[in-house]
Amino acid sequence: MKMKFGKRLQQQIQQSFPGWRDKFLAYKKLKKLVKLISLAPSMLNKSSKTEAEFLHLLDYEIEKFNTFFMEQEEDFIIHHKELQEKIKEVVDIGWGANANGSPALEMEDKMEKIRKAIVNFHGEMVLLLNYSNINYTGLSKILKKYDKRTGGVLRLPFIQKVLEQPFFTTDSISKLVKECEATIDAVFPPAKATGMFHSQAGNTAVLVAGEDIFRNTVAALLTMQEIRRGSSTHNHFSLPPLSLPDSKIIQSLIVLSPIQIPS
């Protein structure tokens, strides 16, 4: 049953940027260790060795997340500022250009670039948040497994600490994401009434705009939904099924993407 998560995680990893793929949780390995621990009688040296290895790996993984996350975060912070500067430029010049009668095409070109940059930037950050979350979920699950298999109570205290780790304290990035969303109105023309799921737009989106990002994002949404679907061991530590109103439509977007994402 939990293999579901493992499988989902793998899918997510496959969909993610190449540079990110080795930064995700080593879920399978941890699972194996838990199994080993549970098989060996608790008094044996072997068991405690494996246990130590398990704990050690947990630490290592968390370090990995933290380092990666903070690295990305730093890049995003820098990029965010640069983008804001550019937006300011374009918006200011925009008014100026129109007034002076400068070619609208050039202006439009710049705007397009800016829009694309913003959307892609937004997308990358959200994917980082997704990265953070899926790793957290994995940790939570593996700890649950551990407690279950060994009768221990590692999970609760451990998770408390995880909650405080840099990779999980994502407020900074979340804030940047929201700022991006706020900026969108300034650089996008007013939305048309056709709504979000104009199929042509979907086609183009896949072909043009931040293809990898788009694909990843859609995949992430679906993965999240799947992970939260009928898990066999629900408890009050489990998340309720994801309610994604547009899930069918989003799934249809998958069809448009060059790489098949099994759902």
Partner: protein
């Protein structure tokens, strides 16, 4: 200007974390932990018991009171998760009488130069407090003689930071160089102590071997020349003065280049200002920027690497634009009308944006849920602890845990500590051991109603109504 956003960021963070405890009982995580752990440890298996015991001992000690220690005290030392596990590891080792230097299993695990936190007391081994100057990079000394027996685990939130009454910098110490393989021995050699005041405290602590001294002022992390730490909102120097990073002074002896800074938008803002003052990213030197920024705890290495990133970011976009142009061109080929293409592209971007927003939304919701779930878990744990604290009237305690019908706890783990068992037996397994509860807590197989709000209202009730599964 700088101080305020930083403050607000910090506060918002703290308050945000606090806000999740809608139940009203939202103690800061770390003081909470010892209580919960204390009770818990009695119930679990030996090895874990020790580790939890270790934890509970160390948590109270995790508060660094910079006000009490003089300058340079650490605001928050954020032990990396290695502290979580290695702490547990050490504890269990110690209990079993093993020599802490267990290279065999250490080398098994993947290369970690990660921070190692020494257990609070190391049995009979002589412990000397080590100042920063000597403990680094000793290859021969066994950590039993050199090491500091303290492990400080700080929550990253500023809630627990008593500095200035404000949520000042958070220091995270994290090991960075994960690719190195190290012996415990080596790790043990890397000890970072904050300052002399702390050292003297440690000496006191060392005097009593197995004492769980509630207020060690120092938390040491060891890592073989690769300790990262980061500070949040450090740019206001006043705020930072009390919150100097733990690794700061000793770090000069270790490899300071490896320490990690957690950058924030405010800090970056200060950085950019400094750079601009110095004539731009090309002209500005790390040293100059460092001086201008006046951020305590910020090293030249941080500035250097950040400056590098900054320069790259400014000049790379040009190449990005080129590639995006190519992409646009290919689309233009598809459509005869530029205008149409433009609109299509815009719509496509809009769609992409919407999907991304959706994902973000869901992630936020999910994260909030996760936090609340853990919050409830802690709360319940605390309640259990309260019930079974020594001296508490157990009958009273039991009656208030009536929500947990006894039939669900028939399989109390056999390794429950005797004291608790004897008193508990009188009450059957009602309410059980807190450990048991905690264990079965996470073992429940009943699906939870997908309504987190229900949990709020009947915090204790909802788990009980869901709990049908018993220990296997």
């Amino acid at each position: 200007m700088e101080a305020k956003p930083a403050l607000s960021v910090q506060r918002s963070r703290a308050s945000q974390l606090g806000a999740f405890g809608t139940s009203g009982a939202v103690p800061p995580s770390f003081p909470f932990l010892p209580t919960s752990v204390e009770g818990t440890y009695a119930k679990c298996s030996d090895a874990l018991r020790v580790s939890l015991e270790r934890e509970s001992m160390q948590h109270p000690s995790s508060v660094v009171s910079p006000s009490s220690s003089s300058s340079g005290a650490v605001g928050h030392i954020f032990a990396s998760s290695s502290g979580i596990s290695t702490d547990l590891q050490f504890s269990s080792q110690q209990l079993e009488g093993k020599h802490p230097r267990q290279s065999p299993f250490i080398s098994q695990s993947t290369n970690s130069g990660e921070s190692v936190i020494l257990p609070y007391s190391i049995g009979s081994k002589a412990l000397q407090s080590s100042t920063s100057s000597h403990c680094n990079n000793q290859n021969n000394g066994s950590w039993c003689t050199d090491s500091l027996p303290e492990f400080l685990d700080f929550p990253a939130t500023a809630q627990s930071c008593p500095l200035d009454g404000s949520d000042s910098g958070i220091v995270s110490i994290q090991s960075e160089d994960l690719s190195k393989q190290n012996d415990w021995q080596d790790w043990a050699d890397q000890i970072i102590i904050d300052n002399d005041d702390l050292t003297s405290d440690l000496n006191d602590l060392l005097a009593g071997a197995n004492v769980a001294e509630p207020e060690p002022k120092v938390l040491i992390q060891m890592s073989k020349d690769s300790i990262n730490y980061s500070m949040l909102q450090p740019h206001a120097s006043q705020q930072l003065s009390a919150c100097a990073t733990a690794g700061q002074s000793p770090s000069s002896n270790t490899a300071p280049a490896k320490q990690r800074m957690r950058w924030t938008p405010e800090l970056h803002e200060a950085f950019v200002e400094a750079v601009n003052k110095l004539g731009g990213s090309e002209r500005a030197t790390p040293k100059g920027v460092l001086k201008l920024m006046k951020v305590e705890g910020l090293t030249i290495y941080h500035v250097k690497s950040h400056l590098q990133k900054y320069r790259t970011a400014r000049y790379k976009p040009e190449s990005e634009e080129e590639s995006s142009e190519k992409k646009l061109t290919s689309i233009e080929e598809l459509s005869s009308l530029d205008l149409k293409t433009g609109i299509e592209i815009t719509e496509a971007l809009r769609l992409q944006m919407e999907v991304q927003k959706r994902l973000h939304e869901q992630l936020e919701i999910q994260r909030n849920l996760q936090l609340r779930i853990e919050e409830q878990g802690r709360y319940l744990q605390m309640m259990f602890e309260k019930q079974y604290k020594p001296g508490t009237d157990l009958i009273k305690g039991v009656s208030s845990t009536n929500e947990y019908p006894s039939n669900e706890l028939t399989d109390a783990p056999p390794n429950s500590p005797p004291q608790e068992i004897s008193t508990l037996e009188a009450n059957n397994s009602k309410g059980g051991d807190s450990t048991n509860l905690a264990t079965t807590y996470s073992e429940t197989s009943r699906p939870v109603a997908g309504n987190p709000k229900a949990n709020d209202a009947g915090m204790v009730e909802s788990p009980s109504s869901k709990r049908t599964k018993v220990d296997e």
